[in-house]
């Protein structure tokens, strides 16, 4: 018989008790460690975007962009592919019904979500004869006037709760209904304010409760070599007086096919001084790339590098790029990469000649970048200033809305002052993007800010920088020669062509006359 020494028995019992107590904790720690190592437990939630059109409709892109505000991944699939998916393939389903699918089809998709025990949201197009046109939106505790929203009829179900309501002035219908984890939106995202409304609702749908509070960002647009330095100084004073930080989207060179119209910022020392003055007044320089072509990433990257070099020449450092989303994405494919972690997303004009984004808040760009969509847009005159203010007011329905407002520096001072007066009435906290972490890199320079307002500027290749600065000046000279010589050639050739045509006519007339004489006089 095996005997233990007496003193060891109580120690062994104590060890066994300790082990039994520590085992679950250790197991938990182990599983957490596995998750931290990138195991399946730590992946970002996956949102499955379903659609029922032959090609993904525009709403799919909109919802995808709205979702880029959240730490989720997205995947798009046709609704017919749903049967091929298994439980665990998605953590959320958002269904875009753009063709007015039957209730049964919607119910089938919803039942899959119920079976997988995941939240489900559907945006319904609705049959044309059952559409309700509303112009007043009730959401939360506020009412918002909106452009007409065509809403489908919803079946709220026995436990359905109205989240947003739409009114045509006489009657009211639910626009968004929630029944547990099942959400129904009665209109597509392109309808009036539906995209903004969806942006807010997505917080509840995804369970991502961002801190509430509206912020704003002012962008002074159209600042370039031909801008009036005195005008820019007055604008800076105006904004400083209103205690509003701002960004200045600078286009350091105007490139035109007509060399005489070309100009670079360093040609105008007063303008360079004005830019520095704006920076001291609370302005942050961003590089204006709104005119660059996304279809030509290499060319755009080259021009950006030259622009940064030109800005650097006058002591300016851009902390972000002011450009379309398409350009920002295409730059990643340029062989000489131009990298901006932060983008102020320039928005193109809509069909009604207004310019604002469907995305009312910041977007996450990769690991370390932020996109600031131009959510309110810019006004080109006094009349549109009111429109900007009302749009900004409506943005209040999004809990963490970002109002990006463009002020066109080419407008008269009075117009800009009036616009600013209107938008400054809104209760937003104006952002200074130098306090957002950023990184800019184009091969010869690296700029970075940790978000504390300081900047690290590292010139990686000074020769390249000087070369780029000269390149712009040289290209003006060489292109002038090419331009004028080619037009001279056109002129000379055209003169010769006309002269030769004249010769032909003369010779033919002479021949005809001779033939006539021969015929008549033998």
């Amino acid at each position: 018989m095996l005997r233990f020494p007496k003193p060891l028995v109580p120690a062994a019992i104590a060890l066994a008790i300790c082990c039994s107590l520590l085992a679950p904790a250790a197991a938990g720690a182990a599983s957490r460690a596995a998750a931290d190592d990138g195991g399946p437990g730590n992946r970002p939630p996956r949102v499955l975007i379903l659609h029922n059109s032959p090609e993904p409709p525009a709403d799919v892109a909109t919802i995808d962009n709205l979702l880029s505000h959240f730490p989720v991944t997205t995947e798009t699939a046709h609704s017919s592919e749903l049967d091929g998916l298994a439980e665990g393939d998605a953590d959320y389903i958002i269904h875009i019904d753009s063709i007015g699918a039957s209730d049964r089809e919607i119910a089938e998709a919803a039942s899959v979500a119920r079976r997988w025990n995941i939240p489900y949201m559907v945006f319904r197009a609705g049959a044309a004869d059952r559409v309700f046109d509303g112009i007043l939106l009730r959401y939360g505790n506020a009412e918002y006037a909106t452009t007409a929203i065509s809403a489908a009829a919803l079946d709220p179900g026995p436990d359905g709760v109205g989240v947003a309501w739409l009114s045509d002035g006489r009657s009211e219908r639910p626009l968004i209904v929630r029944e547990g984890d099942r959400w129904q939106v009665a209109a597509g995202l392109a309808n009036g304010m539906v995209a903004w409304l969806a942006a807010d609702v997505l917080h509840d749908f995804l369970g991502e409760h961002h801190s509430e509070g509206a912020t704003g960002l002012i962008v002074i647009e159209n600042v370039g070599p031909l801008s009036d330095p005195a005008h820019l100084r007055r604008l800076a004073d105006l904004l400083r007086g209103s205690l509003i930080p701002f960004t200045v989207a600078v286009q350091p060179a105007i490139r035109s096919s007509v060399p005489s119209e070309r100009a670079v910022i360093s040609d105008n020392p007063e303008l360079a001084d004005a830019l520095r003055y704006m920076t001291e007044a609370g302005g942050t320089i961003v590089l204006d790339g709104s005119r660059l072509d996304p279809a030509k990433p290499d060319e755009s990257a080259g021009l950006i590098a030259r622009d940064i070099a030109l800005l650097q020449e006058v002591g300016g450092y851009p902390v972000a790029l002011y450009a379309s989303r398409a350009l920002a994405e295409s730059l990643a494919y340029a062989s000489d990469r131009a990298y901006f972690s932060n983008i102020i997303e320039f928005t193109d004009y809509r069909a009604d000649r207004t310019r604002y984004s469907d995305i009312p808040y910041t977007r996450i760009r990769g690991a370390d970048g932020t996109a600031f969509p131009e959510s309110v847009g810019a006004a080109s005159g006094d009349a549109e200033a009111t429109l900007l203010a009302s749009r900004m007011s409506r943005l209040g329905l999004v809990r963490d809305a970002l109002s990006v407002v463009g002020l066109d520096a080419s407008l008269p001072y009075g117009t800009i002052a009036a616009q600013l007066e209107q938008i400054a009435r809104e209760a937003v906290m104006w952002r200074d993007i130098r306090y957002s972490a950023y990184r800019v890199e184009t091969g010869f320079i690296r700029l970075s800010g940790r978000g504390d307002g300081t900047m690290d500027a590292v010139i990686l290749n000074r020769d390249r920088m000087v070369e780029l600065q000269k390149l712009e000046q040289q290209s003006v000279r060489y292109e002038s020669i090419t331009y004028y010589s080619s037009w001279t050639l056109v002129l000379v050739v055209a003169v010769f062509v006309v002269m030769f045509m004249l010769f032909i006519v003369i010779m033919q007339m002479r021949r005809n006359r001779r033939l006539f004489m021969e015929r008549e006089l033998g």
Binding site: S256, S257, V258, P259, K296, E299, E479, T482, Y483, S485, S486, W487, L489, V490, V492, V493, A494, F496, V497, M499, F500, M501, F503, I504, M507, Q508, R511
Partner: protein, 408 residues
């Protein structure tokens, strides 16, 4: 090049105007005994299809009988050329026959001409290809043009295409020859007092030929080579378009390629052989002309290839030209200029400015003209290969076609 050709065409037009005035003036009737003696050399190698028509035309030449001899050099023909020539020799005292047999035969046109030169008695030598049917006044015009100025070493006449209406290729060639003569020949003569001897319908002083040692037997384009040597001696080569001959042009693409390859190779030989030497001697006009040839066969070719490549890459979206300027307009104007320039040349020829020729010309730019690129590349390659492996050049005789009986 664009500007230069415009300038040449302007010269061509002005020269045509001058010729019109000259034609309208009453000609001085020179007595028969005042005409110098002329030897017409006709090298012939297997030319039985065409030689009869050629000799008939020669016998119709309006020139004093006792002042002209027509020497047919039968260069070892294996067909009936020899018999036909003998028949004409027996029939007319003006015709003389020279039958070449190996080892002196079949060494190319230059060799045949040199053999003919050996027995020629005329003060002036006139050369015609075996497929030519000159107008009756052609030789008189050539001689008159030479007699006007002792510094004129050679006179070149105009050649026209006898089978122009045969098919699309001959239509192309017809337009090409007309424009070449009025642009390059007449234009250069008008502005710079130079032109290039073509292979046929030209006159040269016998004394000069003897002084220069005859034709260069190594040259594939003996005419261009001879032109350079005449320039070097300080003589002018006059283009005189009133002296007209009609010649047969290739009717098939295969024959055309063969003939043109020989021309290009020959001209490349002349450029490479003469340019370095002439550049050293600083003879302005010749240098200018040779540099022009050099540009045509080498530099301009590179430019055209680059331009085509850029256009293709641009269409495929691979390359984008960001240089400012009206480049599309230039291209369009260049095309219009091409059409209009050649139309001026066609209008000078009076009967050639037709709707059909206009459409042929419009097509020519994108078809026939582009084949020159291939030709030059091919010829350059053959030339290089010949230099590397020390290949001996062979004279490629241009194949003849049955002349239409009713023509001319």
């Amino acid at each position: 090049m664009l500007l230069y050709h415009m300038f040449l065409m302007l010269g061509g037009y002005l020269y045509a105007e001058r010729m019109e005035k000259l034609k309208a003036q009453p000609r001085r009737q020179r007595p028969d005994d005042e005409w110098p003696t002329v030897s017409v050399l006709i090298p012939a190698h297997n030319e039985d299809i065409v030689i009869r028509y050629t000799l008939d035309a020669m016998l119709r030449l309006d020139y004093p009988r006792d002042k002209i001899e027509i020497i047919v050099i039968d260069d070892n023909s294996h067909d009936a050329t020899g018999e036909i020539v003998d028949e004409y020799c027996a029939r007319d005292s003006r015709v003389r026959c020279l039958h070449l047999k190996p080892p002196h035969a079949a060494k190319g046109k230059s060799n045949a001409l040199n053999q003919g030169l050996r027995i020629a008695k005329g003060e002036f030598i006139v050369v015609y290809d075996a497929d030519n049917t000159p107008n009756s006044a052609a030789v008189k015009y050539l001689v008159e043009a030479a007699l006007e100025d002792p510094t004129i070493g050679a006179v070149t006449g105009k050649f026209r295409v006898i089978n122009a209406k045969k098919n699309l290729l001959t239509r192309f060639i017809n337009i090409e020859t007309i424009s070449f003569q009025w642009m390059a020949q007449a234009g250069r003569w008008y502005w710079f007092g130079i032109s290039t001897i073509p292979g046929t319908n030209f006159l040269i002083r016998k004394s000069l030929l003897e002084e220069m040692g005859g034709w260069d037997v190594k040259a594939l384009t003996e005419d261009t080579e001879m032109s350079i040597r005449l320039y070097e001696k300080g003589y002018k080569i006059r283009f005189f378009p009133l002296a007209i001959t009609w010649e047969q042009e290739p009717e098939t693409w295969k024959v055309w390629f063969k003939q043109r390859t020989r021309w290009v190779r020959g001209n490349q030989y002349v450029i490479v052989k003469n340019l370095p030497r002439i550049l050293r001697r600083k003879q302005g006009r010749i240098v200018f002309d040779l540099v022009y040839f050099f540009f045509t066969y080498f530099v301009f070719l590179g430019g055209v290839v680059l331009s085509h490549l850029m256009m293709l890459l641009n269409l495929l979206g691979i390359v984008n030209i960001t240089l400012p300027g009206p480049f599309l307009l230039i291209w369009l104007l260049a095309y219009i200029l091409f059409i209009v320039e050649i139309m001026v040349a066609l209008a000078i020829e009076k009967t050639e400015l037709t709707t059909r020729n206009f459409f042929t010309l419009s097509l020519m730019y994108v078809t026939y003209s582009q084949l020159w690129l291939y030709l030059i590349f091919r010829s350059t390659w053959l030339q290089l290969r010949a230099a590397i492996i020390r290949e001996e050049w062979k004279w490629d005789k241009t194949q003849r076609f049955q002349p239409p009986a009713a023509q001319k």
